[in-house]
Symmetry: C2
Amino acid sequence: MSVEKVLSEAEQVIKEVVPPEIDISGIDFEGSVFVIYTKTLDEFSQNSDIVRQLAQNLRRRVAIRPDPSLLQDEEMAKEKIKQIIPPEAEVSDIYFEHETGEVTIEAISPGLVIGKHGALLNEIKKETGWAPKVIRSPPIPSKTVGEIRDFLKSVREERRQILKKVGRRLNRDLSEGETWVRFTALGGYGQVGRSCTLLMTRESRILVDCGVDVSNINGNGTPYLNVPEVLPLDSIDGIVITHAHLDHCGVVPALYKYGYDGPIYCTPPTRDLMALLQLDYMKVAFGEGRKSLYESSHIREAVKHCIPLKYGETTDVAPDIRLTFHNAGHILGSAIAHFHIGEGLYNVAFTGDFKFEKTWLFNSAVNKFPRVETLVMESTYGGFRDIQPSRHEAAEVLRDIVQRTLKRGGKVLIPVFAVGRSQEVMIVLEEMMRIGEIPWANVHLDGMIWEATAIHTAYPEYLNSSLRTAIFQKGENPFLSEIFKRVDSRETREKLLSDPDPCIVLATSGMMNGGPIISYFKEWADDPNNTLIFVGYQAEGTLGRRIQREQREIVLNEKGQPLNIKVNMEIATCDGFSGHSDRRQLMRYVRTMEPKPERIVICHGEESKALDLASSIYRKFGIETRALKNLETIRVK
Amino acid sequence: MSVEKVLSEAEQVIKEVVPPEIDISGIDFEGSVFVIYTKTLDEFSQNSDIVRQLAQNLRRRVAIRPDPSLLQDEEMAKEKIKQIIPPEAEVSDIYFEHETGEVTIEAISPGLVIGKHGALLNEIKKETGWAPKVIRSPPIPSKTVGEIRDFLKSVREERRQILKKVGRRLNRDLSEGETWVRFTALGGYGQVGRSCTLLMTRESRILVDCGVDVSNINGNGTPYLNVPEVLPLDSIDGIVITHAHLDHCGVVPALYKYGYDGPIYCTPPTRDLMALLQLDYMKVAFGEGRKSLYESSHIREAVKHCIPLKYGETTDVAPDIRLTFHNAGHILGSAIAHFHIGEGLYNVAFTGDFKFEKTWLFNSAVNKFPRVETLVMESTYGGFRDIQPSRHEAAEVLRDIVQRTLKRGGKVLIPVFAVGRSQEVMIVLEEMMRIGEIPWANVHLDGMIWEATAIHTAYPEYLNSSLRTAIFQKGENPFLSEIFKRVDSRETREKLLSDPDPCIVLATSGMMNGGPIISYFKEWADDPNNTLIFVGYQAEGTLGRRIQREQREIVLNEKGQPLNIKVNMEIATCDGFSGHSDRRQLMRYVRTMEPKPERIVICHGEESKALDLASSIYRKFGIETRALKNLETIRVK
């Protein structure tokens, strides 16, 4: 096997580069990373030049890790650390990362953990062998983050084996012959929903996103996964997820059900949000008596196979493909996936969903890359008329609607995705109430919004800088405002439904094709004092779209019986909160992109919008642009 | 299994339709044909209405066959027939077709076999049980046709099993869900050579052609058969071959080597020519010390799996795809493959190589169809400037070149494909010598041209009507002229090479990338009295193209040593003999096509020509036209 040859050649390189006083106790691949174990970690760390030189000569990412024999048993180490740190530090969690030999200490007062000139940290290192890392406790504890951390700990050995297997596969022999790059549209082309693209070279196959079409709950709404290009599933090298919305990742666990056994590459927040939303999707299907595409065991498999990758980090995802994520500005952890193929052969970037504007939550999407020949970009708002108001105009519109509804004693109902729009609307509502622009009222959060918000605060480095500063430096965390009330049980919801007082409710799902929003809508639709406000994109085929298009008589399913609903409540649309770039932003993204790509492929938009955007880009910038159709394959090199 | 259900339902239908006095002894599928065995064949035959009604009610092609117990043993029957027929009839062959219960009697004087009012035929039928069919003996006996007939006889039982298996597969259950039609360019797009397209529906996969790029003998010149779309090979439902040139069928036997085990659909002459050319290709590779893609056993497998289909016959090639061949006018048996997909869902026609002009050999290609939504057409001469002279202009040019060369005592060397151009050039040369337009000289045929010509005379129904009449009614067979000399051994060739007399040599291969033409070229290139005439298309990368482009110093390989050749002989190109439509014919084909297709896809042409033709068709006729690239997939429905 080739990997053995690689390892033995690597030993040679290491011998040449590493001075003899540094002890090497083992080498191996974990995923794409070349791991070197040492009993003299300190000497190694002090000489960063060696690591750089090793990475260069080995032409791989290199991780230096302490030999496991140096690390104290976890439980004993935890006890020791608790003894060393003063109780005023208010440690909220301690967890160990065997892969790096690091122990992370979460505390309300990180300074007290560090001690004077780092004295306590040094003591911890000396006593336990673990390298301590201190972070501030997230302001809202997330159940998901905690559970995933515990789960990964429980499958540590299995994960090591997975990473080793991935590492071996990445180092397989390459065949010789003509090289080429192509990709197949498996879903989400000419439509919004079930995004899925297969990137293929002569050597490798990478699946970029694998989402569900939530507007198609009668069919199963999956991408075209029965085509020969993706079969057998275990021949695929890796799955790359651009962000956690279900239309980009909702089918991923089903891949493990049907035989896929490889890695998933995504940002750390995407991994957590993805698990949260998939679990919810499964539960909702169960609750509505539909057959779920997968079980929770498959979601656990997916989490187990995640290889998290931060913005700007580069990793091999196939023998001839390297992946780098860049901020996409769409939701927490959303990424543009940049693929470098071959040794300088070709570069393709998939935008995923992206926002080319700084929002209340995130920085603007990245559009500068070292190299890009083909750009695959979304076109949700790609139509000629799809001009959206600015963030501030949107806030003003929202203010007016909320004002008049609350004043007339009505309720404001806002369907939102748990992840993304809800947090922005929360920030805006909190600010408007705080400065008195709208009357004080409770803002109830139903359907995982609370938990999603907690995950946001667990990953502050993915928020935009001003929000990060407000939360962590100024202690002004809008999410902690007392106006927000969590709906966390059926009883709370029932009580709220029959409460006559005006209030604001943010509830999922964002397109009203299920979720708790339906309960509120059923109860409140006939009162003209109430208002339903759409703040996000309503896809073709969803209930949200039908109501937005002025359908005023709705038939819903109530325990198998048809339920007729007359929509008398005010229906308002508040554009400008979208996590998607509007037409002007899409065009500006291309215009200011560096380098100018040779080719653009349009996806993730209704057919007419995709075609309109494609021809506009071609006419305006002279770039060959094509709106691909599902099931088509384009060759780019 | 579904097929059992189909058969039992069919029994019901037969009971209803067939009167009780007709005996049914068995039913089954062979390929797409529903076969009914009977002991009372005559009663059946007399009532053609029953057969029609059965076909209608069963919604399948129906074949009525005599119960095998009624047929006399072959050898005994042969003896009996020989006793019945008078020796003056000059019977040249008698062969039995068990599948139909027919015995074919080839004779120089068919009338004497038939007897007065068919008396002898009736006697044969009565005495042997076999239904006699009389045909005129082909004027030139073909070794290939005979060998293939013998081979098929020797594997009769195996073939029956193959056909049964195909029949069962064609009757498999269909899955439910969205239907679609797409195809992938696997070779021969943006290039001439290695034609190969994969036609895919949700249910089925059909490979249309599978050729070799003969200009790429260093690479293996195969289509992209390592892509996941075609793997595993045994998942493909069928292979359709449009004609026998190697750039359309040269890789087919390799498919059997690598696991394909299904049927090949082609016209009867294509089957024979294909085997001939594949065997030659294999031998040439062997002779040149190259690794052949396959062995002769794989060619036999291919022949064994051929399901011959005449022009105008329709057959199921997959549960949801029906195929009809139409004349393409390119070479003997060349076909346009028309696919009807689903029940009225979609229609695609692949032209293969086609000539939209009546030639000395064939009728003009068909361009009227019941329905066609997408046309896939070749573009060998699709460039703006690719205007070819008419057949008659071409003959005049050829006459002048031959005249001056023979007059100055030189030799005329014409590289030709064994199949197609050689027969046309033979007809023209024969006529010109016969009417005294050029001096009398021997025309030597080297490299299978003789055998290919023999196959032409074995399939007179595939020649154009005037040629057929000349041969069979008027007894004027140009191929039998004494000017034609066969080079059938190395000694004959050596003698010819050193013979000082002027002569004409037609030799393969047509693009000078191998074959006996090279020996003549090596010997005669330096004499300015000689002339090399190109009468066919010279693909990029071939020696023919290099010489045509005025390269006058050629380095050839002589038993591993470089051999420098100075080209002093006259180099002439005689356009107009091509089996391909020129630019005007291509445009006229589209303009006069019925019905007008919704979409045209261009293949089989250099990239610039394909693009030029595509944009011209779009501009001129307003039909969406695209020049697909190899490895791309287009969705048409």
